[in-house]
């Protein structure tokens, strides 16, 4: 107890003595923890709300029969009901409509069509209707829509209100017949959806005779897997029979690499925070060396000195962890939108959800984890300085003027270790992924950054030696520079840590910058080479929000005839994009007129000529597959690929592999004729239109709008976008995807800057006597400022130089190893010199700004007090 009292007494005294440094360190840890907690929380929340939506709506369902994008023939339910061991089989439609607000598209609305008479009591919701209603008649009316409680409140709708909806290309009106509530009155997925009777939904979404899903409840005495086998025997081969939870697992699997990348990036803040803690504690040890001497002189053991400093670091971690957890959870609420939008853009529609677990026990779990992370990071960062403190030689500590470390850093040995780590990073980069995840690639990244950190002290002292060996700079300016460099080099250990923190922040910034710019350049090249059509006619919701359900993303094939008659239109392609499962992978099957595409456009193929390959695909009934899919399935040009079609399993020759950056899930392309013969799908997702030479694009666009308006009744104008607009939209999605990356990077760089402030304040405190002496012999305040700024500049130059090297190597790892293994994309590497110059300029300015305040403070210190220090 007495020992705990000693620790408490000394900690309190230390933290109150240096409130600025204490605050700076806590802020640094808090930022790192906040980034980590926010990303983890957002990642979990997005999938959690997806899972919750799936499971809530599924209710007691044990198996789902699903036809994917093609839906199911409703007659199938009759066959399924005959399968023994099933307690019930319920038809379901899940489609998306868009609310129209004064004719303009507003929020998306997921509409679930259920057999309300049969299922009113089984799915866990209840409907609030008026007392005088005839509930039965109201349930079954064709325009009756029941809206989730929160959505009704957000949209200011109540029972009896009407709502305008856009479904595919049509505009329809529905009546709010009641409000849905979860039976338990808690926050639930029912709050943000609408339900209606299955028959009404079939009419509304143009799916008469079709279903999206059949939900099955198996009898308790029957094993679910046995029941699934029995159902599979009676349904067509392309129809999936699976448990509801497997949808969540599929999504988890699909976004695993994306989430992992994000998580690792969020750890950079913690890594830089670790450097900051090291710095702070190293400073504390240096500054309190005399105190350590006193403790040892009056009977404190070596181990207890070490524990004293570790305890202080843990306290920093605890406070930083608490602040960071709160900040992280607040930040997560913003990130949830970004993450869910990115996942929807790239993978599969996920709603932002109701943020339900922000109120739950998991909130506490996230907070506790954040605090533990803060403490752990701080402890790791403080191990070195604490051991240094415990080994302090008492006599030297008590001797006047000896603040510096009594242990000389083995700069050469550390540098050799650093080179060893760099070699190891190189070897790890050549290893393949483990379980589809680039674990060794991440390890290589860690070794790279650790290796360069180990080289930092050597660079600091090496530079100094070169400077001093060279011609001595003349004048006071030169002398100032030399004093600054000499002082920086005198503490290679502590300054090495600062330089490392800056290096890590900058290397990450540069590495990610090169990767993102290279990726963007690759995508731009891909767009320019492959997005050739002059105008694209698409469903009005095509580029908006997350769509689910085939109704919202298809157009009638008959429009092609209308479009080909428009003056100025040379040719019209029919592009159909549906998702199917191929060997356990969710794959986009694109069908189009391949001969037309061969004439007018191209795919960026890995080998051979696009035109020849596309014609060959038509002739041989083959497919061209994306590079991502080819890598995942391990197939090459000339091999064949088996796909489950509506006509059963078919084998297709793979005539070519092409680069594609539109989806992460993989894509295969076949001729529309072949597709229609196998899937009997007449719908079209978009119409790419090629114009005659010299045709006025804007005039043709207006003519298309006019022509389609006359051709269809009660139809909303489709989206008619030009080639330029489409290219811009694709790049906007790309930029949105990396927005989160920039936020996390910025946090890491800010923490690195805090490290520089910390180091310079340390340096100034240690050198008060030196500065006071300089002032006493005639040095001006300005000269003292210069001295500190020169030191900042020196550390900045070394950090930036290492950061450039690290960033370049990191970009190679990101592009050639991590991205390739995570997503399968081939990225052409470019060096964006302008952006690199901006990043370096930013780091340089930030370094000098970070150096300015300690410099000003140093210059303002009273001379007498400084001289009295000893």
């Amino acid at each position: 107890m007495a020992w705990l009292k000693v620790i408490a007494l000394l900690l309190l005294s230390h933290m109150t003595q240096r409130p600025f440094r204490t605050g700076l360190t806590i802020v640094g840890v808090a930022l790192g923890v906040a980034a980590s907690v926010a990303v983890r929380t957002a990642n979990v929340e997005v999938l959690h709300s997806f899972e919750q939506a799936v499971l809530t709506v599924a209710g007691p369902t044990t198996l789902e029969v699903s036809g994917g994008d093609f839906g199911l023939d409703e007659q199938l339910i009759v066959k399924v009901r005959e399968v023994p061991g099933l307690a019930s089989a319920a038809p379901v439609i899940v489609q998306t409509a868009v609310r129209l607000d004064a004719g303009q598209p507003g929020g998306a609305l997921q509409v679930i069509g259920l057999d309300l008479l049969a299922e009113f009591d089984s799915r866990g919701f209840r409907v609030m209707q008026g007392q005088d209603d005839n509930p039965l008649a109201d349930l079954l009316k064709a325009d009756s829509l029941y809206l989730g409680r929160k959505l009704a409140a957000e949209w200011h709708l109540e029972r009896g209100s009407t709502i305008q909806l856009q479904v595919g290309a049509r505009q329809v009106q529905a009546r709010i017949a009641g409000v849905i509530q979860d039976r338990s009155d808690r926050v639930s997925s029912w709050d943000h959806v609408a339900i209606m009777d299955i028959a009404a939904a079939q009419v509304l979404f143009g799916m008469v005779g079709k279903l999206d899903r059949i939900d099955l409840v198996t009898s308790p005495e029957v094993e679910i897997e046995a029941a699934a086998q029995a159902v599979r025997a009676v349904v067509p081969p392309h129809v999936a029979v699976e448990r509801p939870a497997s949808r969540t697992r599929q999504v988890e699997q699909m976004v695993r690499a994306f989430r992992l990348n994000l998580t690792v990036l969020s750890w950079v803040g913690l890594l830089v925070g670790m450097f900051l803690i090291y710095n702070t504690m190293a400073f504390a040890v240096a500054q309190r060396r005399r105190e350590i001497g006193i403790y040892r002189a009056i009977g404190m053991t070596e181990s207890r000195v070490a524990w004293l400093f570790l305890a202080e670091a843990v306290l920093f971690g605890l406070l930083g962890g608490i602040v960071g957890s709160v900040g992280g959870i607040l930040l997560a609420q913003k990130l949830v939108t970004l993450v869910s939008r990115t996942i929807s853009d790239l993978y599969t529609p996920v709603s932002q959800g109701s943020a339900s677990w922000f109120d739950s026990a998991e909130l506490w779990q996230a907070s506790v984890e954040g605090i533990l992370i803060g403490c752990l990071v701080s402890m790791i960062g403080a191990i070195g300085p604490s051991l240094d403190a415990s080994r302090t030689a008492t006599v030297r500590a008590l001797a006047p003027g000896d603040y510096e470390s009594s242990r000389q850093l083995r700069v050469g040995g550390l540098a050799a270790g650093g080179i060893g780590l760099l070699v190891l990073a190189g070897l790890l980069a050549f290893a393949g992924p483990l379980g589809g995840v680039p674990i060794l690639g991440y390890l290589a990244t860690f070794c790279l950054l650790a290796g360069l950190s180990c080289l930092a002290p050597f660079c600091i002292t090496g530079w100094k030696k070169r400077t001093l060996q060279g011609e001595r700079p003349a004048g006071i300016q030169g002398a100032m520079r030399e004093i600054a460099v000499e002082h920086a080099a005198r503490n290679p250990g502590r300054n090495g840590v600062t330089v490392s923190a800056l290096m890590v922040g900058l290397a990450i910034m540069i590495g990610v910058l090169i990767m993102v710019r290279s990726f963007r350049h690759t995508v731009e090249v891909w767009i320019n080479e492959t997005v050739i059509a002059d105008i694209v006619v698409a469903p009005s919701t095509w580029l908006r929000e997350a769509n689910s359900g085939s109704g919202a993303k298809s157009l009638p094939a008959g429009w092609r005839d209308v479009l080909t008659t428009i003056p100025g239109v040379a040719e019209v392609d029919t592009y159909r994009d549906v998702r199917v499962e191929v060997k356990g992978q969710r794959v986009a099957i694109v069908s189009r007129d391949l001969r037309l595409h061969a004439r007018r456009s191209q795919y960026l193929v890995r080998q051979g000529n696009s035109t020849d390959l596309l014609n060959q695909a038509v002739d041989s009934g083959g497919v061209v597959v994306s590079e991502v899919l080819a890598n995942r399935l391990g197939i090459r040009e000339g091999q064949s690929l088996e796909i489950m079609t509506r006509q059963g399993a078919k084998s297709f020759p793979v005539v070519g592999v092409f680069y594609d950056y539109a989806t992460d899930g993989g894509k295969l392309v076949m001729d529309r004729g072949l597709y229609q013969s196998l899937w009997q799908d007449e719908l079209v997702t978009v119409f790419p239109i090629y114009l005659n030479d010299g045709a006025d694009r804007e005039q043709v666009r207006q003519a298309i709008a006019g022509g389609l308006e006359q051709a269809q009744d009660r139809t909303l104008p489709p989206l008619i976008i030009s080639n330029g607009e489409l290219r811009k939209e694709i790049l906007d999605i790309f930029d949105r995807t990396f927005l989160l990356t920039y936020v996390l990077e910025a946090i890491a760089v800010i923490i690195a800057m805090l490290g520089i402030v910390n180091t310079l304040v340390t340096s100034v405190l240690e050198r008060r006597r030196e500065f006071a002496t300089l002032r006493a012999i005639g040095g001006s305040e300005g000269q003292i400022r210069q001295l500190v700024l020169w030191e900042a500049a020196y550390l900045g130059v070394v950090g930036i130089a290492l950061g450039l090297v690290g960033g370049g190597l990191l970009s190679l790892l990101l592009i050639k190893v991590i991205n390739k293994q995570s997503f399968g994309w081939t990225i052409q590497m470019i060096l964006p010199f302008g952006a690199l110059a901006q990043a370096v300029g930013l780091a340089a300015v930030a370094t000098l700004v970070a150096g300015y305040f300690p410099a000003r403070w140093a210059a303002q210190q009273p001379v007498v007090e400084g001289l009295r220090e000893e």
């Binding site: 007495a2 007494l9 002189a297 053991t301 030689a393």
Partner: protein, 245 residues
């Protein structure tokens, strides 16, 4: 402490040095700070060391306090050989046997006078009322009871040194090492401090080793050793004892 060293007891001496040397490495050069010093200091004796700067006085005191290690020679503390003492053995010695007073006071700046004095007792694991009583007792002994809640920055040099002495005495050491205790004080304060230290040796069984530049301070001792170039060159009884002063 080690079993073997228990056998080697010199009941009469608190400190016994046998050809003790300390050499510092300065690059390629070796500097002898202390050269084969042999010395016996009996229990309850008050011994002063004087000599020019750099003659080895403080080095001698650091070795006796276990703050530094000798390069060669033997050192018996309270009858026990210290040659094989590990770092923790010295820590225990400082907790039980030795109290140290520094020229620069070396109080912990963030703690009050009371907390500074209590710190050695707390480090030993003492707690509760016994600590509070002892701290009050030694603070009264150095006449600083009225300033116990002040931090070092709020005290004069003389007051800080009194607190430092109180801290050195708190755990009832048998050996008090004082390194230039009056070096940072004016003559009036210096006299007060030396009177205080002198009174301690008279009152109890405390052996005092004093290092000083000040002849006035040295004259409070029982006898005075003069040092030069790391050697003890002469021993003389204090004028105070002989009645010369």
């Amino acid at each position: 402490m080690h079993q073997e060293s228990q056998k080697l007891r010199f009941p009469g001496d608190m400190v016994k040095l046998v050809q003790l040397s300390k050499t510092y490495e300065r690059g390629e050069a070796a500097v002898a700070a202390l050269h084969e010093v042999s010395l016996d200091v009996g229990r309850g004796e008050f011994c002063a060391f004087v000599g020019p700067s750099g003659c080895g006085k403080s080095t001698l005191l650091n070795l006796v306090g276990g703050l530094d290690r000798p390069s060669s020679g033997e050192f018996y503390l309270d009858g026990r050989a210290t040659t094989t003492f590990a770092s923790n053995d010295w820590t225990m010695a400082r907790r039980e046997l030795i109290g140290i007073v520094f020229q620069a006071f070396h109080l912990v700046p963030g703690l009050t006078a009371l907390e500074n004095v209590a710190l050695p007792l707390m480090l030993r694991g003492d707690g509760g009322r016994s600590v509070a009583q002892r701290v009050e007792e030694v603070l009264e002994l150095v006449h600083m009871g009225h300033r116990k809640h002040h931090r070092p920055g709020e005290l004069s040099g003389g007051e800080q040194q009194r607190i430092a002495i109180a801290r050195a005495l708190a755990h009832r050491p048998k050996l008090l090492l004082a390194d230039e205790p009056t070096g940072n004080l004016d003559s009036h304060q210096g006299t007060e401090i030396m009177t205080l230290i002198r009174s301690l040796t008279k009152a109890g069984d405390v052996t005092v080793l004093l290092v000083t530049h000040s002849q006035t301070a040295a004259q409070c001792a029982d006898y005075i050793w003069t040092m030069q170039d790391g050697r003890l060159v002469s021993r003389a009884p204090s004028p105070a004892l002989t009645g010369v002063a």
